[in-house]
């Protein structure tokens, strides 16, 4: 066994190595969701009967679901995949991975053994967060590639640059969710708190956005919703929303810093 050589990023590589099965499963899930929704654009979003159906629905529901622009390809993909199914799937993945990374590892007792070795706590948080970020990035790259591949055949007429912007927005949103899980896990060491906080931020963000969509009076609520930071300006239709992206990635980095500081400051219990 060639053990003497030192390799960079041992914790990052182990986190990826341990999770490739899980990542393969999530990739299959994303693929299934994309193949289910995207090819149906012609028969749902671009369909006249469907437009009538949507017109008959309460406007409040349409606003909550962002289904207002569903009759166009970008609007359809934005509302169905990015706004709902992709968002739900990536939120679950980000929540599970991030709550397991610190708090879960601490609860099963293996964080203690890792920290007893020649690694710093900062390194543990950063390498594990990076492993999560890479997996989330992969799921978004996969989604972008699949949608691009289906772009012509499904008649979506999506501009590739806008699609990348939309993917970057979903990635940023998932990063915020996962860094909440990392930070709360590092603060408390309790998986249930990390899971609750990560999922809670995502769900509350979604709900705030849905409520804020209802009237101009409630528009201010958008400012408090990471979901609105990501999709409020419809990057798939309008192109990259740099302000929103900056907010998402900035908050994610800030949460990561909180996680690093928190784990460095407290006792790790087995």
């Amino acid at each position: 066994m060639p053990l003497t050589a030192t390799f960079p990023l041992p914790l990052f590589r182990r986190a990826l190595g341990d999770s490739w099965r899980s990542l393969a499963g999530w990739s299959a899930g994303f693929l299934a969701a994309l193949l289910l929704y995207v090819p149906l654009y012609r028969s749902i979003g671009g369909n006249a009967d469907m437009s009538e159906l949507l017109d008959s629905l309460p406007p409040a529901l349409i606003n909550a679901l962002n289904y207002g622009a569903i009759a166009t390809g970008p609007g359809y993909v934005s509302a169905t995949f990015y706004g709902l199914m992709g968002f739900a799937l990536i939120t679950i993945a980000a929540t599970m991975w991030s709550s397991a990374a610190i708090a879960g590892d601490e609860e099963v007792g293996s964080l203690e053994l890792t920290l007893a070795h020649g690694v710093t706590r900062t390194q543990v948080v950063l390498e594990r967060a990076a492993a999560i970020a890479v997996r989330l990035l992969w799921l978004n790259v996969l989604s972008v590639l699949v949608i691009l591949a289906l772009n012509d055949s499904a008649g979506l007429d999506i501009a590739p640059a806008n699609l990348v912007a939309q993917g970057a927005a979903l990635l940023g949103l998932a990063l915020v969710t996962s860094m909440v899980g990392i930070a709360v896990g590092a603060l408390t060491g309790r998986r249930v708190f990390a899971t609750g906080a990560a999922a809670g931020v995502a769900v509350v963000g979604y709900a705030l956005n849905a409520v804020a969509n209802q009237s101009a009076d409630l528009d201010g609520l958008h400012a408090w919703s990471p979901y609105a930071w990501a999709f409020g300006n419809s990057p798939l239709v309008n192109g990259a929303d740099w302000g929103g992206l900056g907010l998402l990635y900035g908050v994610a980095v800030a949460l990561l810093v909180v996680g690093v500081i928190a784990l460095n400051r407290r006792d790790v219990t087995g």
Partner: protein, 302 residues
């Protein structure tokens, strides 16, 4: 001798609970030092403090000359740690897991993990999650020893190991000591300390009850004695041992040859002097085991 480990008034609170109360320990290089005590005595807390997994409430620690918090990762590369409640999971094989720990440890000589695994009769090609508790423990022992650390911190190392493997493990501990490494190990199974340790600290409720080398602990302990004398009535024997030296739980059997047996506390010399008045036919003095010695100390504290 060089102090590999030194704690001064080391105190740790978990909320209101006082887990360690001003512990002073000194462990010299090239010795095997045992921490013994019942569950909750503070053994695991002490070890976690040495590894900077938890931080002291007050007091100071020097491990290999450094404060664990300041020494950080480079210091921990020179320590091998086996946690008390080792829980290893994962779909990877033992070999892959050891490779991972080797990458975050001190330098591991090529072939060492295989050699250690072979000595402990551990199959490295099996998935970690399928291993029994004892085999996971062996994996933990291998990862603690494989980089030949200057200090080994082993929390309940023999738990889950069968007797043959325990013996091999104790041989590894002695070899490490002979190699100049220092070993700190804890147990509530006292016999394993008795065989391996040069010195022990007995912990109870977060305090050090006593620090002693194993020999003097044994000397201070009770001995089982049995003596048979000729040409003396049983009453004479009883009288001889009723006062000083006192035999606790003395039983005397009369007859042609009178026999007495009992438990002798403390110094053995007065007992031998008292025997000099008799014609001794048979004498047995059983070496005390540490278990009784330690239980005696606990009893005095209560």
């Amino acid at each position: 001798m060089t102090q590999v480990l030194e704690t001064t008034a080391l105190t740790k609170r978990f909320g209101k609970r006082l887990a360690l109360d001003a512990i002073d320990l000194r462990v010299e290089q090239g010795t095997v030092f045992g921490l013994i005590g019942p569950n909750g005595a503070g053994k695991t807390t002490t070890m976690r403090l040495l590894l900077d997994i938890i931080r002291p409430t007050s007091g100071s620690i020097r491990v290999l000359g450094e404060d664990p918090k300041v020494g950080g990762a480079p210091l921990r590369r020179r320590i091998g740690f086996l946690p008390g409640e080792l829980r290893l999971e994962g779909r990877v094989t033992g070999r892959v897991l050891l490779r991972h720990y080797a990458q975050i440890s001190g330098t591991v000589a090529s072939g060492t993990p295989e050699l250690l695994a072979e000595r402990l009769d551990l199959d490295l090609s099996r998935q970690v999650r399928t291993l029994s508790k004892g085999n996971k423990q062996k994996l933990g022992v291998v990862q603690a020893f494989m980089h030949t650390p200057a200090l080994l911190v082993l929390d309940e190392p023999t738990s889950g190991l069968d007797p043959l493997v325990q013996q091999e493990f104790l041989t590894m501990v002695r070899e490490a000591r002979d190699n100049g490494q220092t070993v700190l190990l804890s147990s509530h199974v006292l016999s394993e300390i008795q065989q391996a340790a040069d010195a022990v600290a007995i912990l109870r409720a977060g305090r050090v009850v006593t620090v002693s080398d194993v020999e003097s602990l044994r000397a201070s302990a009770v001995r089982h004695v049995a003596v048979t004398v000729a040409d003396a009535p049983a009453e004479a024997l009883r009288a001889a041992f009723a006062g000083d030296p006192r035999l606790a739980s003395l039983t005397v059997a009369g007859g042609e040859r009178a026999s007495a047996s009992g438990v002798l506390e403390g110094d053995i010399n007065p007992f031998i002097r008292a025997l000099a008045a008799f014609t001794v036919v048979d004498l047995r003095v059983e070496e005390p085991d540490l278990e009784e010695a330690v239980l005696g100390l606990y009893a005095k504290q209560v």
